[in-house]
Symmetry: C2
Subunit: 190 residues, 2 copies
DNA sequence: AATCAAACGGAGGAATATTCTCCGGTTATG
DNA sequence: CATAACCGGAGAATATTCCTCCGTTTGATT
């Protein structure tokens, strides 16, 4: 494969992720090509149909996030710290795009990745709970749910930099809440 | 105005809010009319152009939320409790639709409401901070940002009931985090 | 530096989605 | 029961998105 072809291919994937996050759904092919700075023909040569690009993009993000997460769980002994770093990292990797794309994919089954991701989440939550720093009533699904809340920009008239920085800030608040001994609300209205 | 006309008008507004939340953007007119169970002609008679429907819907949600918030601040003495109840209520009222629609409106200026909303937020945050139960470094914008994270469904393959219930649950976690004396993260990486 | 297979760009017609008008029929209201 | 107000939805008009095709450019190889 020629060098320029490879570069374009990767660029198309990156742009697709970017646009998926901005649009909050399937972006128009023309828009992807334009933003990537390539002709529409190039897009169609690399990804003959919509699905193949979306698959490639989703897989790219997932793979990066899971791999980094597996490394974190080895490297960071404290459970909540590992979880926190994982979530911030996933957010920067564009994990929100996976959340958006998953329901749009026709055959989104990657047995290998699915297992690795599930195992990773289970380890993260389990260890932190066992260490006593994380609430005991959280499942993996909760973590995924929480992550998705901060993982994609929701238009409120902020620049994308402001949005990113606020997302990280509030993700930290949220994680503080997950560490609280007992929900204040729970105490008030049992 | 005839009774059936009024009923249809209100129904159209409700459906619009519902669809805006589902779609995450401007829904197609046809879809609104169909879901509301009225002919497309009826939609156009009540709201000759797109903007007028979106305006009406936005205003409806905003008005309800602000009014309820003003009542809460009177009725609930504890600052954080008031804030918590406000956020849960706004979530149920479809405040997420406002967040989505605002950037799509052409002339979204309701001086009265804008002032009331700003005042409300300032009071809520200010009082809770003064009472010492809420973090001191939060602005009104932070609260709005946080609210928007939970205020609209983000597709993850959940039924709309599951989604709603998880949103409330995690909003509580998040609020617990806003009450923490000091962020654990902040303590770890200053 | 010459060659050429591989890759590129983008005009523009086809396909699809959305908007919005129009008018014959229906219904609430007095 | 009269009638003004309201309703429904077919379908033409418009906007958007898709995707093919082919002449041009470029990276690799010798």
């Amino acid at each position: 494969m020629r060098a320029d072809a490879l570069k374009n291919r990767q660029r198309l994937i990156d742009v697709a992720i970017e646009l998926v996050l901005e649009v909050g759904g399937e972006p128009a092919r023309d828009a992807i090509a334009e933003r990537a700075g390539v002709g529409i023909g190039t897009l169609y040569r690399h990804f003959p149909d919509q699905q193949s690009l979306l698959h490639a993009a989703t897989r790219h993000v997932l793979e990066k996030s899971v791999a980094a997460g597996e490394a974190l769980i080895e490297a960071v002994p404290d459970g909540v710290d590992a979880l926190r770093q994982y979530m911030h990292m996933a957010l920067d990797n564009g994990i929100g795009a996976v959340n958006i794309l998953h329901p749009l994919l026709e055959k989104p089954d990657w047995p290998d990745l699915r297992v690795r991701a599930a195992t990773l989440m289970k380890s993260m939550v389990g260890r932190a709970a066992r260490q006593g720093t994380l609430r005991k009533d959280l499942s993996e699904r909760d973590i995924v749910f929480g992550l998705t809340r901060f993982a994609r920009p929701l238009a409120v008239g902020l620049s994308s930099d402001e949005e990113r920085s606020l997302a990280h800030r509030h993700l930290d608040f949220y994680l503080d809440g997950l560490c609280a001994e007992q929900s204040r609300r729970g105490a008030l209205e049992p």
